[in-house]
């Protein structure tokens, strides 16, 4: 018993392992296929105010089905003109189909606003292949120089009165390092032409890196932009500055916190989902464990019971062997041998019908069982050719006994020896579907009780005739009277060739008086065909008139076996 449990666990375990293996090996890989993003040329030189083209390219080793990317530019320097969709100021979204080529390209147009130097960058490139797989490529950027308009150039640039030595009119960006105590610088530019105005952005310096823009505008309105990056050194430890620095740090970390929050709200949903999935998984595991626990308990219980019985059983076995030998000598033609059959149903006192209830009860150990014996040590034999009637009040275990004999149920103890292939259980209207027509039901019901299609085809007319339902067969059974239904059921059930063992479960009271006569005749015919018959009935008259032997079962116990007359008399007197 315990070994069995281990086997079960082993099966579970191997299943789990193989599943995880499949999971792990099956992860979808994104294969790098040389996806690159690039521009048409290494650098660009444009003229202010003139619409200029720039080509963006995405190439790969495999045919590209679809590609998308974001092109980032400086809106102060360039104005986006056309070519793709403007996502926001400074960002252009490019989406393009590949049509199976290995390279995808798109032309974008910009109008330079000012002279100077800027950069155009391709970001977040996603390539989709025809297989549906996607891959991403690294970002790329290209320098763009916008030629100086006439008069826009500066001749010199002075910081706090001192001219910048490395200054050249066609270099647009400079870097400068200043001490920590420099809070402000003065920037003066000398333009090429007198009519050109120079404007300088805020020159107050914060700690770290600052960008100062020097814009020149000539009389025609053309502009050039020089940028000066000023790095202010970290402060010396003077108290007020430190305070300031701290304040700044505070704002910086605040900004960081905000950013983090942004990211978190993005992943929060994901975490939530993960949590839910985990919770579900957990619940499933708990349920599984409970189930295993229950099964184990049952086994243990049985195991103990078996142990107790072992000794007793050995003795019984010995006895049985002796009796079997005897029986074999005496009676050669035993067709059905019911040996000490006990059928126990475990009935829970107010049974749990929901998992919740079951859980609560299991935890509180309130699950009390009540063993209900439907059959208690019933033994009898039926010989070939006998017609045996089984009587008993409702719920005395007659149907259970029949189920055990026909092999539908397996008994808890004992056994019923019988050749199951010979048995035919005669039941009426099993699986009748009221939504189908009579004809369809004949086939359905026939199939269920074991007729082949050819057999039904052949016997169909006969069935209809016997059931007296000519002209109703295309009608739905829903519209039949109850008598018609049982007649049809009887006709289907009894059309077969007489089997060797026939079991009749309350089939002898069907239809009106005339049909009853007919059906009784049919049953008699079958009985006289030399087959062994088991009849279950409440009616003593049926048993008295048909049977050669009667078995009386009351509340699961065998009360009497023998002559029908005697047994029926005892039954009636009860």
């Amino acid at each position: 018993m315990q070994r069995k449990g281990k086997k079960w666990l082993a099966v579970l375990f191997t299943a789990a392992v193989s599943l995880t293996v499949v999971f792990l090996t099956g992860e979808k890989e994104i294969k790098a296929a040389g996806e690159t993003a690039s521009f048409g040329s290494e650098s660009y030189e444009w003229v202010q105010g003139e619409e200029s083209p720039i080509g963006v390219y995405v190439s790969s080793d495999n045919p590209v089905y679809f590609a998308e990317m974001t092109v980032v530019y400086d809106p102060e320097m360039l104005q986006y003109s056309s070519g793709a969709g403007l996502e926001a100021e400074g960002r252009v979204r490019v989406e393009t189909g590949g049509g199976g080529n290995t390279e995808v390209s798109q032309m974008l147009y910009f109008i330079p606003l000012r002279s100077g130097r800027t950069e155009i960058t391709i970001e977040s490139v996603t390539v989709q292949y025809e297989s549906g797989e996607t891959a991403s490529a690294a970002a790329a950027s290209v320098p763009v120089t916008v030629a100086l308009a006439e008069g826009c150039a500066l001749n010199a640039l002075a910081i706090d009165g001192e001219p910048l030595k490395e200054f050249r009119p066609d270099t647009f960006s400079y870097t400068l390092d200043v001490g920590a105590d420099t809070e402000r610088i003065t920037v003066t530019g000398t333009p090429e032409a007198d009519t050109t105005t120079v404007s300088v952005s805020d020159t107050e310096l914060a700690l770290g890196s600052n960008t100062i823009q020097i814009t020149t505008t000539n009389e025609e309105g053309s502009q050039a932009l020089y940028t000066l990056t000023v790095n202010r050194a970290e402060p010396a430890k003077s108290p007020p500055e430190q305070k300031m620095a701290e304040e700044e740090k505070g704002t910086a970390s605040k900004a960081e916190v905000i950013q983090e929050k942004d990211i978190e709200s993005g992943t929060a949903a994901e975490k939530m989902i993960l949590f839910i999935l985990l919770a579900l998984f957990f619940i499933l595991v708990v349920l599984l464990l409970i189930l295993i626990h229950i099964l184990r308990k049952k086994r243990r219980y049985r195991y103990r019971a078996v142990n107790k019985r072992q000794h007793h059983k050995k003795m019984q076995d010995l006895q049985q062997k002796v009796t079997e030998n005897l029986q074999e000598q005496q009676e050669e033609h035993i067709e059905i041998d019911v040996q000490h059959v006990t059928m126990e149903f475990k009935r829970e006192k107010d049974e749990a019908t929901s998992i919740k209830e079951l859980l609560i009860r299991t935890i509180k150990k309130q699950r009390s069982y009540e063993m209900f014996k439907a059959l208690d040590d019933v033994s009898f034999t039926v010989h070939k050719g006998e017609v045996v009637g089984i009587i008993g009040t409702n719920g005395s275990g007659k149907s259970t006994l029949l189920k055990i004999i026909s092999g539908v149920l397996a008994p808890t103890k004992g056994k019923a020896v019988v050749d199951r292939s010979k048995i035919q259980l005669l039941t009426l209207g099993t699986g009748f579907d009221f939504e189908l027509t009579g004809r369809e039901n004949v086939y359905l019901n026939g199939a269920i009780i074991g007729y082949t299609k050819e057999f039904i085809d052949e016997k169909y007319e006969e069935i209809v005739k016997f059931a007296e339902l000519e002209g109703f067969m295309e009608e739905k059974v829903r519209n039949y009277s109850s008598g018609m239904v049982s007649r049809l059921g009887f006709a289907i059930a009894t059309i077969r060739d007489t089997p060797e063992i026939l079991i009749l479960d309350e089939v002898l009271s069907v239809g009106d008086m005339f049909f009853q006569k007919k059906s009784t005749a049919r049953i008699k015919e079958m009985m006289n065909g030399g087959s062994t018959v088991l009849i279950v009935s409440h009616s003593t008259s049926v048993i008295k008139s048909n049977c050669t032997k009667a078995v009386w079962i009351e509340k699961g116990k065998l009360r009497a076996v023998g002559e029908p007359e005697m047994v029926c008399e005892a039954y009636q007197k009860m």
Binding site: G431, E435, A447, I448
Partner: protein, 274 residues
Amino acid sequence: MAGKRKMERRKRQNMTEKERNEKRRQYIFVIQELTSREIKRKYSRSYLGILWSVLNPLLSMTVLSLIFSQLFKRSIENFPIYYLTGYILWQMFTGATNAAMTTLVDNKNMLIKVRLPMEIFVIARVYTALTNLGYSGLAYMVMLVVFQVTPQITMLFFPCIVLCLLFFTMGISFVLAEAYVFFGDVKHLYSVLLTLWMYCSAIFYPIENLEGVIRTVIEFNPIYNYIDAMRSIMMYGVMPPVWEIIRMAVWAAVVYAAGYYIFRKNKNKVMQKI
């Protein structure tokens, strides 16, 4: 005595071997009859009858295409077919498991009175769903023509996927059918689970839009596996990668084996309970 018994057993075995074919034919006949009953019953009060099996996927495709094809215009090329491919497979799975879940309880009478293997009732319900898939397949084929999907040689792989899905479905059905006998709650629990499962199967949205955990979950989802493989052979003319095929087969085999094992093991208990 023992020798005699052995002989008897051998004799019986011989007999069953001879009769086995006959028996199997009989079971197939029963399954056919049960299936035709299910289908007739399903449409017994409607005028269009079995036509609904064809119409249903088409209508649902139309409705969803109306809404979602705009939404996923740029990431899904042929939304109606994309959706329909997933939908018919999903329908087959849910139809089968939902029907099979209640089959033992529904057919209680037959189970008690007739000596038929219990599996037959489960198989019949799954087979009904398969038949339905056949009718939906008709609609699907018409739609393939309408949307000018070029026939591909890979489409011939289609039965293999359906077969895998069938076994997978059968395994789940066995377990559900048995569980439902003991707990009616299973039905409600399962309907919730199915909703989750449906959204995790990427039936009407492109998986490319998702990232992180949820995407991983979807990619591990066997149903998505089947749907994805189906799409790649029907729409793109590409065989699914080898690991995907292996995974499909393994899912089917493991789930079927486990389901069947559990089913066999608890057979007697089910009979008692019913």
